[in-house]
Subunit: 374 residues, 2 copies
């Protein structure tokens, strides 16, 4: 049989989270003993309970909550599910391990003794309960020891210390260092950093172009991508680069509503994760391109045009109406120019001007001229 | 303006590929000058032209070809597309750069002068032309300087040299080293390696579990995942580990037809890439689990069962009929046991027995007993 590891010493962050979990359980027990209905107050993660904090430049969750009661037929199952997951998380923290959303689902999934009722039927029931716990406890998912699939890669002029391992991001070859899902300061620390900014690109294939041309070396930066909409690990790491190392975060995304939305999430946060904006959003993030005007400015050929679909047009208008875009004149112009063009363009389209046009001319010129939206 | 890099010295591999490209162009030119119809012979990438090489234990492409002619109304466009891509690839090789499938598509996409006809309408037209060139030239996509999205991560007791950078895979923290798309020997070399085998797992979340528990350190191995069906870069790297370092490749995949298919592709190759089997397939690869019998053997709870869908049953029967499974008694039993169970199981299901059951008990016990299918 395999050896069992001894229980680890708890980190400060973990002690705090455990305290919150115990508080939750105590409150439930106390009201039950006092003859009151056991219940948990869950903050609402809805658009209606999301506010735009103009001063800080981020989305925030409002104060509205809903009760989840044990003695309510409609809520008893969710109440039980919430307690089950809270218990799994407590175990994970105590043994100093992390698990995936799917792992936590499997851990809690069983048939309730003496019945044919399952605690959870599918993971789609389980994930929202974990988000409920995040907001209720005011603890990030990472603090609950739950990780997502790792996604996104990094290379550049920085040394990163990850669980004690020194990762020299200047020496990661063509592969790069995989950005983990949990990047809090007790796991990931920053060593020597010469980089003056971060260039964040949308996709791995574009990242490859910049890495192959050693853009980060010539322009002294860190190069990241998030494989599309960046996962929480990437967003949190970018925010830490920005806040702790004071590095500007400069985004190179497609010229389409999806690219604009990715930028919006990086910069202001998202509605579904509004409760985490203060730890994920980067109000200073800049949008370097691709800009709608680039078609003419860069004399791109017609072949790079991709006609906007009905849905693209709808999304572009929705994004333009977001309060954080609505009051931003330059962004109103940008979205209007996209709609006026009637077509979108991908970063890869720049290859029409030469394999390395994007790394040797387009981005360096924009950087030099500080030609970005912010 | 940005500086232009001088043209690099060509590698041996690149000289060979350029020779093949020139040969193709010469043959076309020669037949045109001789008054014959310019044409290219393209080997067929169909199931009918795939044979099972029992002796070598890999799938192979047969000898059947189809002509692609310039003066054939149905083929003229594809002929032109083939030549366009051949030309882009020649350029890429000469400047020593690589590009993505999408990049090559954009490079070749334009409106034919004097017409309203596009060279390519979508990438779905472009990708098969690149595969045609691969088989016609007998050159891997990587040799044509075309990369795919990087996918998959590695950590473990090995040093890897990637474009001159020494990557100590023992010191990659929680993130791991991202496996690049192009891992040929002139880019990636192996340094010191203590590892005695490779454990390849299906998903990043499972990989996280094994990395967090530092399985690779305790069991002296390399730990990889391919984010589902592993991309070519991961398969090629695993094959190089197996052939050059003589490391067994041991796979931990879900107990379902998809897991079996992933194993089959790693081991014998796939029909669509049969022409590359000799550089991608690993006939010695082993399937450690999850096995259908594990439900009883590991005393797993009912909750881990996921009922097989109609489609799962169909796929399982198809896979059982593959010649390379059909003649394998243990695999016939395994697939019959899966169908008999009526349910599938994921690797994550092992969490029902404890967070680290899979890393501390399940896999170590199977390794010790050499309890795998091969």
């Amino acid at each position: 049989m395999a050896k069992k590891s001894p229980l680890p010493k708890l980190r400060e962050r973990d002690k705090a989270t455990l305290g919150k979990l115990t508080g939750l359980a105590d409150a439930v027990a106390k009201s039950a003993l006092a003859g009151r209905e056991p219940k948990v107050e869950i903050p609402l993660r809805t658009k209606g309970n999301t506010t735009w904090d103009k001063k800080r430049g981020i989305l925030r969750m409002g104060d509205a909550t809903a009760d989840r009661e044990l003695f309510n037929l409609n809520q008893a199952k969710q109440f039980m599910q919430t307690m089950l997951h809270a218990s799994t998380i407590k175990d994970l923290i105590e043994i100093g391990k992390t698990s995936s959303l799917r792992g936590v689902f499997y851990k809690a999934k069983h048939t309730v003794a003496g019945t044919k009722e399952n605690t959870f039927d599918g993971q789609e029931e389980s994930d929202p309960i974990l988000e409920d716990l995040e907001v209720t406890l005011g603890a990030l998912r990472e603090e609950l020891h739950i990780f997502a699939e790792n996604r996104g890669t990094l290379v550049g002029n920085i040394t990163i210390i990850d669980k004690g391992d020194e990762i020299n991001a200047r020496k990661q070859g063509s592969g790069g260092w995989g950005i983990p899902s949990i990047v809090e300061a007790d796991v990931i620390q920053f060593g020597k950093c010469e980089a003056k900014f971060v260039l964040h690109v949308e996709k791995g294939t574009v990242w490859n172009r910049f890495n192959e041309d050693r853009f980060w070396e010539e322009h002294n930066c860190i190069l990241t991508h998030g494989a599309g909409q960046p996962p929480r690990g990437v967003r949190r790491l970018l925010q830490r680069f920005n806040q702790e190392l004071k590095l500007p975060i400069i985004c190179l995304l497609d010229c389409d509503p999806w690219g604009h939305y990715i930028y919006s999430v990086i910069k202001q946060g998202s509605i579904s994760l509004a409760f985490e904006s203060s730890r994920l959003a980067i109000p200073e993030a800049k949008f370097l391109g691709i800009r709608a005007a680039d078609f003419k400015d860069c004399k791109l050929p017609d072949a790079v045009k991709i006609t906007l679909s009905e849905n693209d047009i709808k999304r572009a208008k929705e994004i333009a109406a977001y309060p954080w875009f609505a009051e931003h004149k330059a962004w109103q112009k940008e979205i209007a120019a996209l709609l006026d063009n009637g077509f979108k363009m991908e970063v890869e389209a720049m290859i029409a001007k030469g394999v390395s046009f994007v790394t040797e001319e387009y981005v360096p010129q924009r950087l030099k001229a500080k030609a970005w939206l912010d």
